[in-house]
Each structure stands twice: as structure tokens, then as C-alpha cells.
């Protein structure tokens, strides 16, 4: 198990007060996690001692910056068990990673009448890029439905994968239900039907061990900022053969091998997909975040989330009128969305904030999911490595207080 008091001392922001005398209870890690001092210092150290552009200079600092930036890529590759760091492409976030595939692979491989399979629980990031592609190419999007308990209807998947299906793109962990999807099984179903599989790991990467070779997925994308790292950076993993065959996504410096006024040839992987000066400090910070999580052990991170989620679901069940959406704790990550009868989620969030508790309220960039449930929005509390049972108790107490304000 995790040493939570020790972990809490790693996160400077947890010592701050939201209002005078009101300490922060941060239950919004699924939107963006807080950063441990190890990550903050790695980026600070880079700017103080190593700052220079990468892949260019002959001078000492440029070499050090390049080494640190590429060492971070290698750490991330090991973190997801990618066979080769060249298959790990830096992007700005999960959304850009999925857009890279939709634009580069999608425009080269999707034709009119082809099918793209998604699920009804996707974040807009794994929905809208495919809608844009399908619109442009005349392709068809199909959706795997979710069941009343917030799990995917797995029995529906084989029939939805047809000989026209070119790609099955799905989330590993729902950002609303918290559902942990059976990634390996879904990838195999896609492959059996002759399609490739893309995994949106935005919520999975912070919470559980990832293994792209075991999953056998063709693409996987996630952001650093939800897993103790900085904003502005994430990665797209892709199998080498697919990446080699794809045209570049953005063009400019760093992604070229040779430029003449008549034309250009492309750099090798992974730089073919990395145009312009990258987010160097963020890449180094991402590497430090991976080191931090490896130090905790992703199995332990996952176990702590299971423990806290289990505790939270039980504690929340004692609040009258509160309905948690999604599956039982055993099938979910540390994301708990709920409604409270008689109080709108925005009002819940506002009243909880007065107790220093940060949660998210809204549709969480999953409007189709909420539409199917017949609601506009939910309140969402998400837990991470520093979350304690005392914080869950305070959440419950604050919910009771919100009910009092609304005379419920």
C-alpha cells in the first residue's frame, strides 16, 4: 500500500488554504492532477541550469537538454512497455495524439463507406476528431452502447465490427463512470475483424499499469498532466510499421531530414511527427512524473484507488438522494460521478468549494453519455495517490451541509 502521509508531503499545493483556515481537499485529479515537488524541481532545474533548444546545438547545454528530453521519452516508453522509444511521439496532450492519428493515419486509410467504431462513453477528444474525419471522407461511425451499470455492452461488439471497420477507438477508463474497460479483449476483437485499435489512456495512465505489448494495441494516447506531470505534453504510442507508413501530421523544423526549395524528405521516427521546438521542460517534467509514479509502483497506485473508491462509494451511499453512476468499485478507477436530488451539480460544486473541496461539475466533455442518461450534468469527485479517507468523510459532511442549504 501507499504511504499516503509521505506522499502528501510531496505535493506542496496540499498545504495551501483555499480560504483562510480552509485547507484544500483536491478531488479533481481526473481533470488535472497536482504535481509533486520532484516534478516541479525537475522543470525548475532544467530552466535554471540546462535550458537550450534540443536536437540542434553543438554546445554543451543543447546536448544536455537533448539528453534529458530523450531520456524522458525512454522512461515513458518503459512505463508503457513500448518495445522502442521511437514509437513514443511527444504530443501536447491526449487530444492532439488522437487528432494526429485521425489526420495522418485516418486521411490516408479511411475511405467512403468505411466504418469507425467508438463507444458511447467516449470523451469528446476521442469522438469529435473521428466525426470530422467521417464527415470529410463519407465514413460511418458506429458506437458500442453502454449498459445501465456504466459498463460496455461487450456482447454487442462482435456484430459492430464488420469487414468495413478500419479502426476501433475506445477509452481504457471512462472519465465519468470510472469504468475500467477490458482493453486486451477489445483490441483482440478489433484485430479479429481486421481493424486496428486505438486506446484513449488519458484516465488509465495515471491509475494503473499499462502494457502496450500485452494489450497489443496499435495506438495509445495520454497526457502528462493527469499523472503528476505538467500540462502541454502527452504521448502517442504507435506501432512502428503504422507510424512508418503514415504521412507527417505537422510540417516544419525538426521533422525533416532534408529540405530543398523543390521539396523535403522526412526525419525518422519519432521526430517525423514532432515539428518545431517541442515542450522541452514539460518533456523532462513528464519523465520526472514517470519516475515518481514508478517509485510508488503503479500496482500500489491502483490498489490505493480501489481502496479509496470502495470507501467513497460506501460513504456516499449514506447520503439520501445521492445517486452514483457507474459500476461497483471493483470495476472502476478513482472517478466517481453522481447526482444529488434537488441540487444541481454546479450548486453542489459551489457549496463544496466553500469547504475547500474541489470537485468538477458539468458534462465532463462527455455530452452523449449524459444525454443517454437523460441528465445534463453530474458532479464528479476523483481520487488520487494523496486522497485520504478523512477527505472522503469531509466530502460527505459537506454534501450534508449542501442539502441543508437547499432545505433538503
Amino acid at each position: 500500500m501507499l504511504n499516503v502521509p509521505q506522499i502528501r508531503s510531496d505535493f506542496p499545493i496540499l498545504a495551501t488554504e483555499v480560504y483562510p483556515g480552509v485547507p484544500l481537499i483536491y478531488l479533481d485529479s481526473a481533470a488535472s492532477s497536482q504535481k509533486p515537488v520532484q516534478v516541479i524541481e525537475a522543470m525548475d532545474d532544467y530552466y535554471r541550469h540546462t535550458n537550450a533548444n534540443v536536437h540542434r546545438g553543438i554546445h554543451r547545454l543543447s546536448e544536455e537538454a537533448t539528453n534529458a528530453y530523450e531520456a524522458a521519452r525512454a522512461k515513458i516508453a518503459r512505463f508503457i512497455n513500448a518495445p522502442d522509444p521511437a514509437e513514443v511521439i511527444y504530443v501536447s496532450n491526449t487530444t492532439e495524439g488522437i487528432n494526429l492519428v485521425a489526420y495522418s493515419w485516418g486521411r490516408a486509410n479511411i475511405q467512403a463507406g468505411d466504418e469507425i467504431l467508438l463507444t458511447e462513453m467516449e470523451h469528446h477528444a476521442n469522438l469529435v476528431p473521428w466525426q470530422v474525419l467521417a464527415e470529410e471522407k463519407g465514413a460511418v461511425i458506429k458506437y458500442v452502447p453502454f449498459l445501465a451499470d456504466g459498463t460496455l455492452d461487450l456482447t454487442a461488439v462482435p456484430a459492430l465490427l464488420t469487414e468495413r471497420t478500419k479502426i476501433f477507438a475506445f477509452t481504457a477508463v471512462s472519465n465519468v463512470f470510472g469504468t475500467v474497460n477490458p482493453v486486451k479483449q477489445l483490441v483482440k476483437l478489433a484485430h479479429d475483424a481486421g481493424a486496428i485499435a486505438l486506446v484513449d489512456a488519458a484516465q488509465a495512465a495515471p491509475r494503473m499499469p499499462l502494457d502496450v505489448q500485452d494489450w497489443d494495441c496499435d495506438f495509445m494516447a495520454f497526457s502528462a498532466h493527469k499523472m503528476c506531470g505538467p500540462t502541454g505534453i502527452g504521448i502517442l504510442y504507435g506501432k512502428r510499421a503504422l507510424l512508418e507508413a503514415m504521412p507527417p501530421f505537422q510540417a516544419g523544423g525538426d521533422m525533416i531530414r532534408r529540405v530543398t526549395l523543390e521539396g523535403s524528405t522526412w526525419n525518422e521516427l519519432p521526430w517525423k511527427f514532432e515539428a518545431g521546438t517541442p515542450a522541452i521542460a514539460e518533456g523532462i517534467g513528464f519523465g520526472a512524473a514517470v519516475d515518481y509514479l514508478n517509485g510508488l509502483g503503479m500496482e500500489n497506485v491502483h490498489a490505493h484507488e480501489q481502496f479509496i473508491t470502495n470507501y467513497a462509494l460506501e460513504a456516499l451511499s449514506e447520503v439520501g438522494g445521492l445517486r452514483v453512476i457507474g459500476p461497483p468499485a471493483s470495476q472502476r478507477g478513482g472517478v466517481t460521478a453522481f447526482t444529488l436530488e434537488g441540487i444541481h451539480p454546479h450548486d453542489i460544486a459551489e457549496l463544496l468549494d466553500k469547504d475547500g473541496i474541489a470537485i468538477r461539475a458539468g458534462h465532463h466533455c462527455a455530452m452523449p453519455l449524459h444525454h443517454k442518461l437523460g441528465i445534463n450534468s453530474t458532479a464528479r469527485a476523483s481520487f488520487y495517490v494523496h486522497t485520504t479517507t478523512e477527505e472522503i468523510d469531509k466530502l460527505v459532511a459537506s454534501l450534508h451541509r449542501a442539502k441543508k442549504v437547499f432545505r433538503l
Binding site: P345, K354, G362
Partner: protein
Amino acid sequence: MLDESMYREQIIDLYQNPLNYGHLEDADWTYEEDNPLCGDVIEVDVKLDENGRVADIAWSGDGCAISQASASLLTDAVKGLTLEEVRNFSKEELLEMIGVPLSMARVKCALLSLKVLKAGAYGMPDPKSLHQHIDDEA
């Protein structure tokens, strides 16, 4: 600390017992829009009298206490106003009526009903041609 000044009695009263809630059968215009931040939707139906003043108004939708209370206050306040006065109804006036401190994000909730009302009002022909239209139908 629990500062509930935003949720004073009047706001909760209006949230739980809204004014002018529902639909108008014979509305001169109906307009609906959502708050993209939260997906909440408000619809406003307006009926004008022969002088081009708001004779009746109803609103419906789902939203937070602030947006719902605001819709009740606004729809009450514009009864009897001319189309031009509705178009010129200011944000400041509505925020003053709501009268509780709001964060930037919640100001959007508070102003959703006004946005919907004014968008509908601007989509209407001016009262003269409206009368012409009504006369023609008669």
C-alpha cells in the same frame, strides 16, 4: 467557513418554486439556448400584446439555482416592456436583481436567461411590421 451568501433564501425559494415556469401555447416567439459550460438549457416563450409589449412570458429548462432564479426574476421584470426595452435590458440590471455575489463562471449561469430572451427578441421583426403581419393574418 461556509459562506452561503450566494444561496440566500430568495434564490432557494425561486429555485424550488419558480415563477413563470412552463410554456405558452400562443407565443409570438420561442427561443432556446444552452450554456456550453454545463449543457444546461433554457427556453423562453414570449407573447406580445397589440401595443408590442410583453403580455405574457414563460420559461422552461434545467439548470443550477442561479440560472433558474435568474430566469424567474427576469421573466417577471420584463412583463409590460416593449420589444425595444427587452432588447435593451442590461446585464447589470439583472445581476442587481439577483443581488448575490457571483464568481465569473456563475455570472454565465445568471445571464443565460437574458441571453436567450434577447436572442429571441432580436430575431423578431419590429413591432410595426409585426402588427402588419398580425393584421394580414386577421
